[in-house]
Amino acid sequence: MNDVATQKTGFWTWLTGLANPTRFMGLADRWIPWLAAITTALLALGLWMSFNAPEDYQQGATVLIMFIHVPTVWLAMFCYLVMSISALGTLVWRHPLSDVALRAAAPIGAAFTLLGLITGSLWGKPMWGAWWVWDARLTSFLVLLIIYLGIISLGRALEEPTQAAKALAITTLVGFINLPIIKFSVDWFETLHQPASVSRLAKPAMDVAFLYPLLTMALAFSFLFATLHLMNMRNEILRRRIRSLKLRAAAGER
């Protein structure tokens, strides 16, 4: 029991210690090369497995698009989940790194969402005969891109850091409602999009010949997200340092 309490205290001390930007920067500098190396290795393995997978009996070679479409869509939604947890971190625990994590994740999430839309469209045309349909899944996913762009714009528009952090956190949490809509839209509404075929409580409705390359690519994209996120968090801390130095310089001139 005491061990558990000590472990919890130890983790909390480590987490609060990261509030010191210098300590976080040191940690990021050490982790980024390792994360980048793991991402490269996993991407190489995932691509090799994808291009060696057999053609699907219905979809033919277009099944190759699935190996990038599905991971980008998952990561676009996972990124928003990370931002929502960060928003709670800002509003509830007031951890200074939460706002850094939220702001740094937004452009990455927007890029993954854009890729999800592009690859989905390129997959939809040969399979459905249409580049785009205004159904619930596709429309709610387009809304996710608009939310990401809104959060990025809001962050750039607000100058005062504390106000900006609160506004971004609240906006992010309001936008969170879109995630279950995207996830369950295929069950709630009539749509061209297929229902969940991997994340099902029963056995995944996919042959292992496609499932293993897909899961490897998803893992590779997860590490890619972690690498890019840490790199962009480092940039956000540097932006704050520059602001602080400029304020100090302005105060000295008075």
């Binding site: 930007p21 479409h69 592009i118 390129l122 040969p126 540097l238 130095l245 100090r248």
Partner: protein, 54 residues
Amino acid sequence: MFGKHAAYIIPSYTLTVLVIAGLLLWILATYRKRKNEIAALEAKGIKRGAGGEQ
């Protein structure tokens, strides 16, 4: 190589590579730009306070 679907598969992979490479280059360029900006400010004698505030 991909038969009649090459026109959909090749752009999917090409655009994915381009968007991710663009994102990576933007992050790296921002890092370099901000590091240089901090170095320039510190060269003017402007230093951060004790405690390493943000």
